[in-house]
C-alpha cells in the first residue's frame, strides 16, 4: 500500500470513529451554500480552455497584446510558456471580478506599453517586430538605480513600474497554472513526507 493509500485508509477509519451518528447527521445537513466551491469539490481547472472562450473584461486588442507580452515575459523553452498556459484568459477572469480601481490600473499599464511603442516606433506593441518588442521591454525591465556618481535618483521610474505590474500578473497567472506547477518541478503528489531536515554532517551545511 502506498503512503497516499495509507492516508486515505486512515481518513476513512478516522471519519467513522470521529463523530457519533447524531452529530454526523447534523454535519451532513450543513448547507451546501455555505461551502466554498473548493469545499464542494468543484474543479475549475479546465474552464479557461473551453472552446468558444471570449474575454469577459479585455477587448480584442488588449487580449492580443497580453498574449504577445506574456509570451515575451515567460516564453516557451524546454517547457511550455505563458501563452500555452493561457495566462491571458486567467488575467481577464480575475480582472473582471476586480475593483474599478484595479481594472483601471491594469489598463493604464497596458496602455503605457502601447503609448511608448507608438511614440518610439509609430505602431502599437503587438504589431512590432519581435526584435523591437524586445528592445522596448528591455528598456523597462530593470529599475533605474540612483546615479553612481551623485547617488541621486532620476525620479520615479514610471516605465519600470508599469512593466513590473504587468509582469507580476503574468507570473502569478503562469506559476499558479498546472503548467506553471510542472515548470517548478511538482510531480502532482500532495505529500512527500516525512520532512527529514538537514542531513549534512555537523557544521557542513552547504
Amino acid at each position: 500500500m502506498k503512503r497516499r493509500d495509507l492516508i486515505r485508509a486512515g481518513v476513512l477509519g478516522g471519519a467513522v470513529v470521529a463523530l457519533r451518528p447524531s452529530v454526523a447527521a447534523a454535519q451532513n445537513a450543513a448547507q451546501s451554500s455555505e461551502l466554498t466551491p473548493a469545499q464542494s469539490g468543484v474543479d475549475a481547472s479546465k474552464d479557461l480552455a473551453a472552446p468558444g472562450w471570449k474575454p469577459l473584461f479585455l477587448d480584442e486588442h488588449q487580449n492580443e497584446t497580453l498574449i504577445v507580452l506574456s509570451d515575451l515575459i515567460i516564453p516557451a523553452t524546454d517547457t511550455p510558456g505563458a501563452k500555452e498556459a493561457l495566462v491571458n484568459r486567467y488575467i481577464d477572469l480575475v480582472l473582471a471580478a476586480e475593483t474599478r480601481e484595479t481594472q483601471s490600473a491594469f489598463l493604464n499599464s497596458l496602455g503605457y506599453l502601447d503609448g511608448e511603442s507608438i511614440r518610439r516606433y509609430k505602431t502599437a506593441f503587438r504589431y512590432l517586430a519581435r526584435e523591437d518588442q524586445d528592445d522596448l521591454l528591455h528598456s523597462f525591465a530593470y529599475s533605474k538605480n540612483p546615479s553612481r556618481w551623485t547617488g541621486e535618483s532620476s525620479g520615479p521610474d514610471v516605465g519600470h513600474s508599469h512593466f513590473d505590474a504587468l509582469k507580476r500578473r503574468i507570473m502569478t497567472a503562469y506559476y499558479s497554472s498546472q503548467i506553471g506547477e510542472k515548470e517548478l518541478g511538482w510531480d502532482g503528489a500532495f505529500a512527500h513526507g516525512p520532512y527529514l531536515g538537514c542531513e549534512h554532517p555537523e557544521g557542513n551545511h552547504k
Binding site: 486512515g10 461551502l35 518541478g185 500532495f190 512527500h192
Partner: protein, 565 residues
C-alpha cells in the same frame, strides 16, 4: 441542532453546564465536564463541519481564481486580512457584512474570527508555548500592571494534561522564559536553521529552537502522524493537527453527556429573578432567527475573548446595569493583542540547495524565546517585557527575480536560500484599551455589536524597533546578506491573539474573575477563554488558554461534587 442527549428535546432539559463556543477552550470545557458525568450543552454559533470539506490536498489551479479571488473581499474585507482566509475555506470565516463592529476614527482593529464548529481551532497557527513563572509575576518584577492570581506551579499540571492529549511536538531547551513540556518528537530543522541556531548561540547565547507545535509527529490518541502536505488551515484528513471538533468535542459527545447545538448565536445570559444566579442563556437560531433559551445550573463562556465579554455586556440587569458580573467596571477593559511588525529577512548565499516543489512541506518554523528583561539579563533601558520570534530558513523559488524571458524563468527555478525572523511582542494591559457595546450597531441577528478601542503604545513600538535590530544582528551572525529590517507596529488584531477584557484577579474591585475563572459577582457564571488573561506575555496563548480552561473545569467539577453549584 445536533447531538440530542438521550433522545430528549435539548431545550426542555436543565443542564449542569451550558458551554458557549466550541473552539479550543469550549471543546476542552465540554470534554472535561461531560467526561466527569455532568450534563452539558455545547453551543456553537456556526454550522457543523465535516472532513469532507477539507481541501488541503487540492492544488490551486483547480480553483476558479487559483486562490487570488477578488470576490472574497466583498463579504470578508476584514477576514481576508488573515493569512488563513483563502479561496479554499473563506466560508469558515464570518461574513463581515453580518458581523459588524466599530472602531474610533484613526484606531483600526482587525477582528479575524470563525463561526463554525471548532472555531479558530480549524485554522490556527498551532504554535504552543508555556508561559513562565516570570510571566505570571511580571508586575512584581517590573512594577507595571498586576500579577496573575496564579503562578506557574498552579498551571503546570494542567499544561501537562493538555499537552499529553493534544500532542505537542517540540524540543526541550531548559530555557528560563519558556518552560519545557510533554513533547512528541520535534520536527527537523533545515540546514539554514541549524546554522542560525549554532551561530546565534555562539554569538549571543540566545536559544533558537524548532517550533513547538500542536501537530503530531507520531500516531497519537487515534490520530495519524503528520504527512507534511503543508496547508493545515484548509483542514487535515488525518487529524494530525489539533482542532476541537475531531478531538475534544468528539470525546465530549462520546461520553453520552454532551448535546451539541449548532447555529446558536448566543445573545445574553439569563438570570433567575432575585437569586443572583444565572439560569442559562438565550440564543437566536442563526438560520431561522427563532429565539430560544437553554437552561443550565452553570454558564461557561468560551466564545473568544471579546465575544464572551460581549455576551456579558449584553446581559445587563437592574443589579448589573453596566454588564453582568461587572461590579468592578473592569469588564471590557485591558484588551490585549500581541504586537507584530518587527523582524528581518535576508538570504544565506553560502547555501546552494535549490528549491524543490516536491520537498515535504513542514507546517512549522523555528522559535526564539524571549531574551530581553529576563531574570538573567539586564533590565532594558527603553522598554519593559519582551518578545519572541517565529521564523524559518529554506531554499525558495525566486518570484522576485529581475528581468524577463528565459533569464527570468531560470532565475525563478534557481531560487534563493532565505532566512527570516518575525517578532511577537508583549501587549501591555491598559485600562484605555477596551471593548464596549456600540449603542448604534447590531449584527444580523439583532444582537448589539462591539465598539473596539485599542492602540499599541510606546512600549510596544520600542519592542518592535528592538526586534528589528536584534533580528538583523542575528541574521548577520548566521551569515545572511541583503538583510531587510522591519520595525513596524502592525494594526492591533493582526496577531489574532486577543486577550483580556474579563481578567482574573484576587481583588473583586479590580477584576472580573477569580483564579478559577468564576465571576466574582455571579457564582455560577464562568469565563474560560482568553478574556481571563491578566497580562499577555509574548508566547502564543492558545496552549495557556486550554490549560486555564482545564484548571477552571477541574475546580467546577469539584464544586459540583461538593454540591456547591
Amino acid at each position: 441542532m445536533s447531538g440530542n442527549l438521550m433522545g430528549q428535546d435539548p431545550l426542555l432539559q436543565t443542564y449542569d453546564a451550558v458551554v458557549v463556543g466550541s473552539g479550543a477552550t469550549g471543546g476542552w470545557a465540554a470534554k472535561q465536564l461531560a467526561e466527569a458525568g455532568l450534563k452539558v450543552a455545547l453551543l456553537e454559533a456556526g454550522r457543523a463541519v465535516t472532513p469532507k470539506e477539507f481541501t488541503e490536498h487540492m492544488p490551486a489551479y483547480k480553483l476558479k481564481y487559483r486562490d487570488h479571488s477578488p470576490e472574497i473581499l466583498r463579504t470578508r474585507p476584514v477576514q481576508k486580512q488573515c493569512y488563513a482566509c483563502m479561496e479554499y475555506n473563506y466560508e469558515w470565516f464570518v461574513n463581515d457584512l453580518e458581523n459588524p463592529y466599530s472602531t474610533p476614527t484613526g484606531k483600526p482593529f482587525t477582528w479575524q474570527r470563525l463561526r463554525i464548529l471548532g472555531g479558530r481551532s480549524l485554522v490556527w497557527g498551532r504554535q504552543s508555548y508555556r508561559m513562565s513563572d516570570s510571566d505570571f509575576k511580571a508586575a512584581s518584577r517590573d512594577g507595571y500592571g498586576d500579577d496573575w492570581p496564579i503562578a506557574y506551579a498552579d498551571m503546570a499540571p494542567y499544561y501537562d494534561i493538555v499537552e499529553k492529549y493534544v500532542g505537542i511536538s517540540g524540543a526541550a531547551e531548559g530555557n528560563e522564559m519558556l518552560p519545557d513540556g510533554q513533547f512528541l518528537p520535534p520536527m527537523k530543522m533545515s540546514c539554514g536553521e541549524i546554522q542560525l541556531r549554532d551561530r546565534v548561540k555562539a554569538t549571543f547565547g540566545r536559544t533558537v529552537t524548532i517550533g513547538r507545535v500542536a501537530i503530531i509527529t507520531e500516531n497519537h490518541n487515534g490520530r495519524l502522524a503528520c504527512h507534511y502536505c503543508g496547508p493545515c488551515e484548509r483542514g487535515c484528513m488525518t487529524f494530525s493537527y489539533f482542532s476541537s471538533p475531531f478531538t475534544t468535542v468528539k470525546d465530549a459527545v462520546a461520553s453520552g453527556n454532551c448535546t451539541v447545538i449548532t447555529n446558536a448565536v448566543v445573545s445574553h445570559v439569563n438570570m433567575d429573578d432575585g437569586s443572583n444566579k444565572a439560569r442559562g442563556v438565550t440564543y437566536v437560531d442563526r438560520l431561522t432567527r427563532q429565539v430560544k433559551e437553554v437552561r443550565a445550573k452553570s454558564v461557561i463562556l468560551c466564545a473568544q475573548a471579546m465575544e464572551s465579554t460581549r455576551i456579558l455586556l449584553n446581559s445587563s440587569t437592574r443589579e448589573y446595569p453596566n454588564g453582568l458580573a461587572n461590579s468592578s467596571g473592569a469588564l471590557g477593559r485591558y484588551l490585549m493583542d500581541h504586537v507584530t511588525g518587527g523582524g528581518a529577512s535576508g538570504r544565506l548565499p553560502d547555501f546552494k540547495a535549490l528549491p524543490n516543489a516536491n520537498e515535504p512541506a513542514r507546517p512549522n518554523g523555528i522559535y526564539v524565546p524571549r531574551f530581553r528583561n529576563t531574570p538573567s539579563s539586564p533590565k532594558h533601558s527603553r522598554f519593559i517585557r519582551g518578545y519572541g520570534y517565529q521564523g524559518g530558513s529554506s531554499a525558495q523559488f525566486n518570484f522576485n527575480a529581475e528581468g524577463y524571458g528565459t533569464t527570468l524563468k531560470h532565475a525563478v527555478r534557481e531560487g534563493v536560500y532565505g532566512v527570516s525572523l518575525g517578532a511577537f511582542g508583549e501587549s501591555l494591559a491598559r485600562w484605555d484599551n477596551y471593548v464596549a457595546i456600540d449603542p448604534n450597531l447590531k449584527d444580523a441577528w439583532g444582537i448589539p455589536a462591539l465598539h473596539i478601542n485599542m492602540t499599541h503604545g510606546d512600549n510596544e513600538a520600542a519592542l518592535m524597533e528592538d526586534a528589528g535590530a536584534s533580528a538583523a544582528e542575528m541574521l548577520e551572525a548566521a551569515g545572511a546578506k541583503d538583510i531587510h529590517v522591519q520595525a513596524n507596529v502592525e494594526t492591533p488584531g493582526m496577531a489574532i491573539h486577543e486577550l483580556g477584557t474579563a481578567r482574573m484577579g484576587n481583588d473583586p474591585k479590580k477584576s472580573v474573575l477569580n483564579s478559577f475563572n468564576q465571576t466574582h459577582d455571579v457564582k455560577n457564571v464562568f469565563v474560560m477563554d482568553g478574556a481571563s488573561f491578566v497580562s499577555s506575555a509574548c508566547q502564543n496563548p492558545t496552549l495557556s488558554m486550554m490549560a486555564i480552561t482545564v484548571r477552571g473545569c477541574a475546580n467546577l467539577i469539584d464544586r459540583f461534587r461538593k454540591n456547591e453549584v
